[in-house]
Subunit: 376 residues, 2 copies
Amino acid sequence: MVELERVVKSGHSTEQVSQPSRIAAPDEAIGADELQLAARNHGMPLEALHYDITPPGLHYLLTHYDIPVLDAATWRLTVDGKVRRPLVLSLDDLRSRPAVTLPVTLECAGNGRARLNPRPVSQPWLNEAVGTAEWTGTPLASLLAEAGVEPGAVEVVFTGHDHGVERGVEQDYQRGLSFADAAQEEVLLAYQMNGLPLPPQHGFPLRLMAPGWYGMAHVKWLRAITVTDEPFAGFQNARAYRVKNHPDDVGEPVTRIRPRALMAPPGFPDFMSRARVARPGRHLLTGRAWSGLAPVTGVQVSVDGGATWDDADLEPALGRWAWSRWTYQWDAVEPGRHVLLARASDAAGNTQPVDQEWNAQGMANNMAQRVEVHVS
Amino acid sequence: MVELERVVKSGHSTEQVSQPSRIAAPDEAIGADELQLAARNHGMPLEALHYDITPPGLHYLLTHYDIPVLDAATWRLTVDGKVRRPLVLSLDDLRSRPAVTLPVTLECAGNGRARLNPRPVSQPWLNEAVGTAEWTGTPLASLLAEAGVEPGAVEVVFTGHDHGVERGVEQDYQRGLSFADAAQEEVLLAYQMNGLPLPPQHGFPLRLMAPGWYGMAHVKWLRAITVTDEPFAGFQNARAYRVKNHPDDVGEPVTRIRPRALMAPPGFPDFMSRARVARPGRHLLTGRAWSGLAPVTGVQVSVDGGATWDDADLEPALGRWAWSRWTYQWDAVEPGRHVLLARASDAAGNTQPVDQEWNAQGMANNMAQRVEVHVS
């Protein structure tokens, strides 16, 4: 059965190292704890929006605990729980199965958190927690079929090797997906990123890819897949990745990626402020847009701080689960400060908000990006 | 001649986007500008100290402006200034020359800045701005010999394609090295990192490698090498990378890497506080130590907050310009909070300080790392 989270019984150590979640005071500056996370984890510098496939090392990265050091030769994946034929698989076993390669845009559920006011205190992402890679792996559905899922299966729980404490709960990172979601044909057990073995920080030797979902679903450093006949109530599903109105709210689960457009800021930056300087004249604004809920149908750009909007030219997506490139001609005539925005819409009728839609953990926040440009 | 920095004459835009350097008030929290830098740039998560060669994507990264998007087919390197035969070279020209591969430990000159109090406001590094890679390139000395350096050459100026504003000065990133330093046999024009073409963020298609020097010397996205008969007074040499007692001080230039030891923190972390939890018992503390001034001769560890120190076991360095692995047996007997430190010494008689040696820009600060561990 599922290895449930283990609360450290003494409580001694975890009380000293682990505090409840917290919302910063209005306009409170970034704390030492948030800085430690920002120094480890990193976003994708937005000029990398110029690439269809994000160059290795520029893809966003969020690691809850430590990056495990694993030996592929001794590593094994177990498939157990409500299955007739439990499996123990080596990396070679998985690599010998049918392989699929998919371009997938991944985004952290906390992207945009540090732009909320008041700010939920956690990994302080601005807008950059995104990236697109080509992931190669074997479909999960056929592996589950081979294991023989028993009637009554409702959920599939994925357990990683990464181990730590979070809000007082000691745990291996674990996430559950409904059986229906896990059985989608695009869900992969991935062992390659951009044609090479997974880098350690992206889940070597094996991670889940659940295209369309925010990053928390794509469990890295997989060691176990467990089919259950009851909903999984582990920390990451029941407490961490929820859209809550206040910290004690049960909230709603974070699931698929809401639409977002980002632009590569035009001109060139100031080192410290990151504000942009652009020459007067015509600039081709370029960016990407994506949604895990439905195909992107449009991107709109405002070059006057949101007062008026105009349609960008949208190119076909790299694939159903990957971003689309868009462009927009901006005639930067007036010297001075300009604020540019972009927002995406999808075929399910979702559009990005221009103002914040606050929630207590800063999850699934897709408020439109604002880029300040000074025309000289 | 050297293309000197161009101050934007109107001053209009740069005044709005670019402020003078600043020192935070005592205990002032991290600002929005520092967070923007921390979200783009990233350190090496310290558990990656387990690897001899830092896996791609985990190596530290500091980009002053934007990462340029360059086309290797049309890119050219010019070698000019006080030379008899100016050169224009393609990437193929450089790759057809004699090649050398060296393991090199690179560290940002600003590493440790955010641990200073009061804190100089810039990229807010904690301890992690380091990494080791194998760099392949062609020696600079033979290229300069081929160009025919004229008598009286005193400096070599390296210019990158990266362009931005810094403290009011619009510039391409440029650094000068004395002719004697540039002519050292280990100085390379590098086109490969770990056996592959340079990733965009590490300087594709070509960067300087000046082993032993802090990162600012290893100019990325090289486009020009200019031999001069007078000292280079550009922004990055004369103003940015200086050890200053106060912001208006001329200061001393930042040059080679001071000794530093870092340990991979034992046990496992809390997500938010990053404090460590460890089981009682024997732990093998492991880490790396390096110095650009002279070979590392010793690493000492304290497991009692710096009250007493003991010698760690030091392994041979990966190479003259790369780090050494060290280990230390820690018997974690007493439950509760422990503070572990490590410090390195080198053959030139340099040892890391345990207390801060403050300077106004937070440069070349090698104060010993402190790791808080809670034994449960």
